[in-house]
């Protein structure tokens, strides 16, 4: 392969350089019916799972078909999205916050051919390329992070768990049988790039062993004071050690103080903590970000640890199915998972889901912990 220059000249990097122009203006990309009725929408209806109709003051209607994606998408697949959008939607398409794709058309008779086209497209293995769904009281696409595909700190994969969870909950994606929307998230480490800490059900990758110290290189590749100050529990202090007859500056870790957050590793590459056997996931539930009825709230840890079981994470999937079923059975119409758990009480939540309550589910991290302990005799048996 010969190197093809775009016009950039490394000897004169500033020559002809364009910078700080920001994204293109959104009005360049709006479908005509959207642009025309911008800010003048009256109401909407979900005609069937995955199909929306928005009505404008002008009387115009826009029909949207929403499909799930794997988020990780190839150039080839995105070109296929473009082909579909060119054929049915006048060359416009949009993505949602939860990595669904929306194909919009400006009249009802264009919906059926669009749907047929989308549902007919499959990958070689048989999975759907563009499954229709994710509206209303359903499980929309899972917000997730990078995992083993692309990140340096994950304790679990993200794309794989998302695939197997969505396979399991596929019915709930394509129908609207739940009491309310049930939003899932997967983050592969405690950094939680995303909003795991506020999802109805969230999976979070966790490490369970303190970092391994690479004494040989630590002093060369790390700023020791940065690593020390990075630790939220003051588990790390500067230290010295003998390595192959030479004295080396390094760090020491008070292991029983470590909460396995990986923050020191972000600061210092000589402190890796991944461990195939002990890493895994925690499951959190009951978070939400909407202000509807009750305040936004954080997710709570209800399963402290599930082992990593690639490729299909059976224990994780089964546990999530159990929670979804209990919620579906027990909650009232419009009630989000967290509101349901609070209404019946968390002690009852563990009863009806059959999840085991262990000491690991009692918070012991700083001030916020105290506010989660019960200071009352108002509990249920």
């Amino acid at each position: 392969m010969a190197f093809i220059s775009s016009g950039y000249n490394p000897d004169k990097p500033m020559e002809g350089r364009i910078s700080d122009i920001g994204p293109r203006h959104y009005t360049d990309f709006l479908p005509p019916v959207i642009k025309k009725n911008y800010g003048k929408w009256l109401y909407h209806e979900i005609l069937e799972p995955g199909v929306l109709m928005h009505k404008a003051e002008s009387g115009d209607e826009v029909y949207t078909v929403r499909v799930g994606t794997a988020r990780l998408m190839s150039v080839g697949l995105i070109r296929e999205v473009c082909d579909i959008a060119d054929k049915h939607c006048g060359g416009y398409v949009r993505w949602t916050t939860r990595n669904n794709i929306e194909f919009m058309v400006d009249s009802k008779d264009k919906v059926a051919p669009l749907k047929a086209d989308l549902s007919g497209r499959k990958f070689t293995g048989g999975s759907l390329k563009f499954p229709i769904g994710g509206t209303g009281a359903s499980v929309p696409n899972i917000v997730h992070t990078q995992g083993w595909v692309h990140c340096h700190t994950p304790a679990t994969d993200a794309s794989g768990p998302v695939k197997v969870i969505m396979d399991e909950l596929f019915e709930e994606f394509q129908t609207m049988e739940l009491p309310a929307s049930l939003r899932l998230a997967v983050a592969c480490c405690l950094n939680m790039c995303g909003a795991c800490h506020c999802s109805d059900i969230a999976v979070v990758g966790i490490h369970r062993k303190p970092p391994i110290i690479d004494h040989e290189v630590l002093e060369n590749i790390c700023e020791i004071p940065l690593a020390v100050s990075a630790c939220p529990t003051a588990a790390i202090r500067p230290s010295k050690t003998e390595f192959e007859g030479k004295e080396k500056k390094t760090v020491a870790i008070k292991e029983d103080r470590c909460m396995f957050c990986g923050n020191c590793y972000t600061m210092c590459a000589a402190l890796p903590l991944a461990d195939g056997e002990s890493d895994g996931c925690a499951i959190m539930v009951g978070g939400k970000v909407s202000n509807r009825i009750s305040n936004p709230k954080f997710s709570k840890v209800v399963v402290a640890y599930v082992p990593n079981e690639p490729p299909r994470w059976p224990t994780l999937v089964k546990t999530i199915r159990t929670i979804v079923d209990a919620y579906k059975k027990g909650a009232n119409k419009y009630e989000r998972l967290g509101d349901w758990a609070e209404r019946i009480g968390w002690e009852r939540f563990f009863d009806v889901t059959g999840l085991e309550f262990s000491q690991h589910l009692i918070d012991d991290f700083r001030d916020p912990a105290y506010y989660t302990w019960r200071q009352s005799t108002n509990f249920k048996w």
Binding site: I18, F29, M73, D275
Partner: protein, 436 residues
Amino acid sequence: MAKHQTPMLDELTKGPWPSFVDDVKAEAARRAENKDGIEFQIPADVCEDLLGVLELSYKDKETHWKHGGIVGVFGYGGGVIGRYSDVPKQYPGIAHFHTVRVAQPGGKFYTTEHLRALMDIWDLRGSGLTNMHGSTGDIVFLGTFTEQLEEIFYDITHKLNNDLGGSGSNLRTPADCMGMSRCEYACYDTMALCYALTQEYQDELHRPAFPYKFKFKFDGCPNGCVAALARSDLSFVGTWKGPIRIDQKAVAGYVGGELKPNAGAHASRDWGKFDIQKEVIDLCPTKCMSYDGKTLSIDDKECYRCMHCINTMPAALRVGEEKGVAILAGAKAPILDGAQMSSLLVPFMKVEEPFDEVKELVENIWEWWMEEGKNRERLGETLKRLGFQKILEVTGVQADARHVQHPRENPYIFWKEDEVGGWKRDIQEYRKRHAR
């Protein structure tokens, strides 16, 4: 014939949900075939090697990506995330696998023309794999070699009139809900405000000057479709003042069953006939609604604008006419000191071009946070450490009962010297009244 055997990943081609493994394989095949005779600028078998290393991770249950590494484009401190493999010899195609963050358009609307042009760049110069989109919101080009970074940047700016997004200790690419473009709930123009602030703060976006990352997110209403409240240092959530607009005829339509409650969101299950009393009136958290069998009334003064009734009867109820934004500060995920939600700072602000009032607020907060924030301390943590009063002080926002869930539970009040007539006292004067 695949370059690497991937028996574990192959399990992920089963089931109905779109399989990323199948997609990556198809991309590998497409590049191998190379129908258009493209002179790929990074190894053509990059997709095979990515599957190979992922299979290895599935076996080891550990990642094979090294810790970061500083790469980027000239003059920018963000936009590219360096990534190197720790097994480059086995998988040379992914020895480097840097991520390029590309600024996404507002509401994530695209023309296929623009998308195709982006894909052409990434076909030629990258792995052919993307995240649509990253968790922060931008388009994520997933994996290229160092030599390609300037070329990609040059192409994006020169050919597409587009730019890189943010990463590192700077302003991250702001993200918005689709707002007024297609949502009748939008209480302000999320896309206009997001675009204006993104343009205004390009310098902050590309040149890290902050203690740590900073995120803006824009939700058009309290439903919070981009989760502004949970994941941005400054969260802009649309809201309104004054009465919810009621169309009594449409209310009757819902009661009579002609209109589907919640726009049809529960249609797959038989929840029984719509019961306005049970499903709207009784669920109103502030109990400010009533229905006498003919007319729906709302005591709007008591409504806290949670959206439930509007979501339930979207054709009958509309947000109030006096629209604006509530601004909240300080959300973050758990690292380091635990998760934080944004806390209400400005209960209501009208937002209109050129958004000067918003910009003044943002700049006052930044000035303070850059001065007082410790290294790697998010705004929410600075707030927690120094107190909410400090942000009121620097922004000039008046304290208001709306700022709290309830007033403080302890009387350890930090009175200021000028509030108590000075702190200097004379012990001799004191002793005149009190023996030692």
